[in-house]
């Protein structure tokens, strides 16, 4: 066991981990932060996406020890300081961008990373950026719409309410 120390959602945390402990395991089991989900074991579904030093990564495909000293941000740290939903989270609720909610943490974290780099992405850019995030429930329609809305774009014209 090795000690690892990092900052998660602004708070310094540390814990004893094995070499093989994944960041996702450290978050879920070590810190009890179960918002980060595990949907596959081949690094493809994106349910586990978090930000490490500002970059979106799959926490199931990174070791906890690789995050020594890193700034980690998870879904639990996405709401506004007063606890209200952030713009992206609110857009997901407003536009019904989630159903069972299982893919949702990864979707929100990925969307946040996209909007940081590209504040007004086109529909095609959003769909492309979501390549590593699988949702079985929504058919993506309302996820894409929510991300467009969160970036301040008018989604009124998009088919269906």
């Amino acid at each position: 066991m090795t000690k690892v120390t990092m900052t998660v959602n602004g708070k310094p945390v540390s814990g004893e981990v094995e070499g093989r402990t994944l960041l996702s395991q450290f978050l879920r089991e070590g810190l009890g932060m179960t918002g980060t989900h595990i949907g596959c074991d081949t690094s493809q579904c994106g349910a586990c996406v978090v930000h490490v030093n500002g970059q979106d990564v799959k926490s199931c495909t990174m070791f906890a020890l690789e995050c020594e000293g890193a700034e980690v941000r998870t879904i639990e740290g996405m709401a506004n300081a007063d606890g209200s939903l952030s713009t992206i989270q609110q857009a997901f609720q407003d536009h019904h961008g989630l159903q069972c909610g299982f893919c949702t943490p990864g979707m929100v974290m990925t969307a946040a990373a996209l909007l940081e780099k590209n504040p007004k992405p086109s529909e095609a850019e959003i769909r492309d950026y979501l390549e590593g995030n699988i949702c079985r429930c929504t058919g993506y329609h309302n996820i894409v719409k929510a991300i467009m809305a969160a970036s301040g774009q008018d989604v009124g014209a998009i088919a269906a309410e």
Partner: protein
């Protein structure tokens, strides 16, 4: 004006807040004090004789608590099948045993042989590799037709063959149907495969067994769509635990699509092991494991024939289907290719004579059971594809051919034993042509051509039967369970309500839409209503959520319970206002006496119910809590029309979905936003089936598409924005809400639209020999079809 609250409003989902902030509570998020971890040792061969399992080395490994094998389950029940089908000759189906852990034989890759329980998951997995298994490999049975040949190896030695049943429907019509084909003006024949799919809810299955030695109560936390059904099946048939000593909890569940209806070995194992070891036992499925353990869907091989007269009127339909059951009968497997499929073969059309033959076959593959749509997508696909083919053969416009044969008078009794209560198929088709801008197709076609792409348009209709269904009927059809639903409405003293429903939400948004209904009935704020589901300890016995039944059946039970609440509350109000209960009206959360200005608030009445100082105690009991069980007297019949436009790259065969439109008739709508979402998700799954997904086995029975590396899930860039409409509404006539169900429509209506569109594109480009391509329409398959 769209409504802003109550029935018909797109209320935002209250459950979203916890999901969006990482505070959902899924089964894997639960960790019990002292829990041990289970790792299953599974068969790596498709078919084999299990000569021995040696656990000695594994038992000696660090952290190992105990290793279980089939021997531990001798004398314990196997996993039961919940539906018994009677075949053409009046014989009941062949029903093999389904042990929790393999006994004597392994029958598919993934079949559980042993389980290591250890202090940590890694220790359990390390030790699982040390379990020594002696298997004599046997020739696997994979192809369904070959499985039925004389001398084929048998999946189950104690059965007479690999045939589960040979079902004919309606058997009495068989001769008449055959005659109609002999004299038909035109017969269109289509042979097709409705390929095997892997459901892939994004949350993998999890089970945690717990046992309290003090009370001897067992608890199972599981990823289920129907905790009560699991409690009944597992308690009564597998482990022999009476229901009052067994609690099943299905907390937040990350999607189901059918695959979480069934009772699985891992659930029984964890409950059993927890009792044996007197500590909680947790199993979390990996995605790789879920590919070889979750029940798969579809897997039908079908020949359908359509007989038409010279004007294109449908005269008769005859089908022959081979339906793969896999290695064992999963919980509801026998019902899928029969009652959920044969009864829908009339579609939206007046066809006087229909005969459906289904041979269900055992093979050395993962069991197959209901997956979103369950039987109805298979029926719709073959019917809507053969109609398209017939239209082309007879030179009739495919839309006109459909219209010509539409059922227009309701109620309508089909020749396949169901009665459609309402519908207006012309209305949804008209709406579709409008929202899909079919009249603009030619110009889009020209534009595609200019870019060197082929373009095609596919249109089809669908009907489905939802809200499964009257218990007395399903009982006759072989169901071993009732199919009612339940609700308890508890009004608290200060006026808030808790609705405890037997339905289960795993993405459908019950917590919001159910509250809308109750709040609307009483005229109070939706936030005063809380919906509780998913725990047998605090909900009445219910059958759960599948077959688009929650609102139609579960919602109806809730309406009935709420009606009882209102009736009693009126009596209390009448007492408080010294009026006759018959004169009391409830509106906007206040009781008034008709024709007067007397009024008491909802909260005054609820308080009186629990503080009955001034109360008609001689007439009614204190308190305000009612339960209702609702057993519908028919299925509901959502129907609609779908249109898909595709582009095909003539050089590579790659298909892209350019436009997709759906016009559905779901009857009344409680929350339009949620309904749209259900349709969107269904369409994506249908597009997935049509273009991307397919579980393929090799000749040894190994699953080739056993991970997302090879099983293509629809992603955001595989699909467009969809245009969906549900403004055509013919309310269901026999449930109190007039609702029909919307959860499966998208997955049922969309595959034929996509395939019709691709065939249309190729035909327009001169590939006139291409009348069908089997799903998934991968680039390589489409390219091969174009090569002739």
């Amino acid at each position: 004006m769209p409504k802003d609250h109550g029935i018909g409003a797109s209320s935002k989902r209250r459950e979203d807040v916890r999901f969006l902030t990482g505070r959902g509570r899924y089964t894997d998020d639960i960790n019990l004090r002292g829990q041990a971890y289970a790792c299953f040792v599974r068969s790596q061969v498709a078919h084999g004789r299990l000569n021995g399992v040696n656990t000695a080395d594994a038992e000696a490994m660090p952290g190992v608590i105990r290793v279980f094998t089939g021997a531990d389950f001798e004398g314990i029940g196997g996993l039961p099948c919940g539906w018994q089908v009677t075949d053409r000759h009046g014989e009941v189906m062949q029903e093999p045993g389904h042990p929790v852990l393999a006994q004597g034989k392994v029958r598919h890759v993934g079949d559980p042989i042993a389980v290591v329980v250890a202090e940590t998951y890694d220790q359990a997995r390390d030790a699982a590799e040390a379990v020594v298994i002696d298997i004599e490999e046997l020739e696997p049975v994979l192809d369904m037709k070959a499985a039925l040949e004389d001398g084929a190896p048998k999946v189950h030695d104690d059965l007479t063959s690999n045939l589960c049943y040979d079902w004919g429907f309606v058997e009495e019509n068989r001769e008449a149907v055959n005659k109609a084909f002999e004299t038909a003006h035109h017969v269109t024949t289509l042979e097709l495969v409705n390929q095997r799919l892997v459901p892939n809810a994004m949350e993998p299955r999890v089970a945690i067994g717990d046992f309290d030695p003090g009370t001897e109560d067992s608890t199972l936390y599981t990823t289920s769509q129907n905790p009560h059904v699991i409690r009944l099946l597992m308690g009564a048939f597998v482990l022999g635990i009476p229901e009052h000593k067994l609690r099943v909890v299905a907390p937040d569940v990350g999607g189901g699509f059918g695959s979480k209806i069934f009772h699985y070995a891992e659930e029984a194992f964890c409950t059993f092991a927890a009792k044996q070891l007197k500590r909680p036992v947790k199993w979390t499925c990996s995605r790789s494991e879920s590919f070889i353990t979750d029940a798969h869907g579809r897997d039908h091989v079908t020949k359908i024939e359509l007989a038409l007269d010279a004007e294109g009127h449908f005269q008769a339909i005859r089908t022959e289907t081979y339906a793969n059951m896999g290695a064992y009968l999963s919980t509801f497997a026998p019902s899928v290719p029969t009652w959920l499929h044969g009864t829908l073969m009339a579609g939206n059309y007046k066809t006087p004579l229909i005969y459906v033959n289904v041979k269900a076959v055992f093979t050395n593959t993962v069991p197959v059971d209901a997956y979103r749509g369950a039987g109805r997508p298979e029926a719709t696909f073959q019917l809507e594809r053969v109609i398209d083919k017939a239209a082309r053969e007879m030179g009739i416009d495919p839309v006109e051919l459909r219209r010509k044969n539409f059922i227009t008078q309701f109620p309508y009794a089909t020749p396949v034993a169901v009665e459609y209560d309402t519908g207006d198929y012309n209305a949804t088709l008209d709406k579709l042509l409008e929202i899909a801008d079919v009249s603009g197709f030619e110009s889009r076609l020209a534009e595609s051509k200019a870019r060197g792409k082929l373009r095609g348009l596919g249109i089809n209709c669908y009907i489905e039967a939802c809200g499964i269904a009257p218990s007395h009927l399903v009982g006759q059809l072989g169901a071993r369970a009732g199919l009612y639903e339940s609700a308890t409405v508890r009004v608290n003293a200060t006026g808030g309500l808790v609705v405890m429903t037997g339905s289960h939400s795993h993405g459908q948004g019950h917590e919001t839409s159910f509250a809308q209904v109750v709040a609307d009935m009483i005229g109070i704020d939706e936030n005063m209503v809380e919906i509780v589901h998913g725990d047998t300890a605090n909900t009445p016995m219910g059958m759960g959520t599948y077959g688009s039944r929650s609102l139609a059946v579960g919602g109806s039970a809730m309406v009935r319970a709420t009606e009882k609440i209102i009736a009693k509350a009126k009596k209390i109000a009448a007492h408080l206002m010294e009026a006759s209960p018959d004169d009391i009206e409830l509106k906007d959360g206040a009781f008034t006496v008709a024709g007067t200005d007397k009024s008491v608030a909802w909260g005054d009445v609820t308080l009186a119910a629990y503080v009955p100082h001034n109360y008609p105690l001689e007439e009614i009991e204190p308190g305000l809590e009612e339960t209702a069980f609702y057993d519908p007297n028919n299925f509901t019949y959502p129907a609609g029309a779908y249109a898909c436009e595709v582009e095909v790259d003539p050089e590579t065969g790659k298909v892209t979905i350019e436009r997709f439109a759906a016009a559905d008739d779901f009857g009344n709508i409680v929350n339009p936003m949620i309904v749209d979402g259900q349709v969107h998700g269904g369409i994506a799954q249908g597009i997935g089936q049509a273009l991307l997904e397919g579980a393929a086995y090799d000749e040894y029975g190994q699953l080739l598409s056993g991970s997302y590396m090879d099983y293509a899930m629809p992603r955001a860039d595989d699909v467009p924005f969809y245009t969906v409409d549900h403004s055509c509404q013919t309310p269901c006539t026999h449930n109190p809400l007039g609702v029909k169900g919307c959860g499966e429509a998208g997955a049922i209506g969309s595959p034929p639209a996509v395939v019709n569109a691709v065939v249309d594109a190729l035909q327009r480009a001169g590939h006139t020999g291409v009348t069908h391509i089997d799903m998934p329409l991968t680039p390589s398959r489409v390219w091969s079809a174009m090569q002739g």
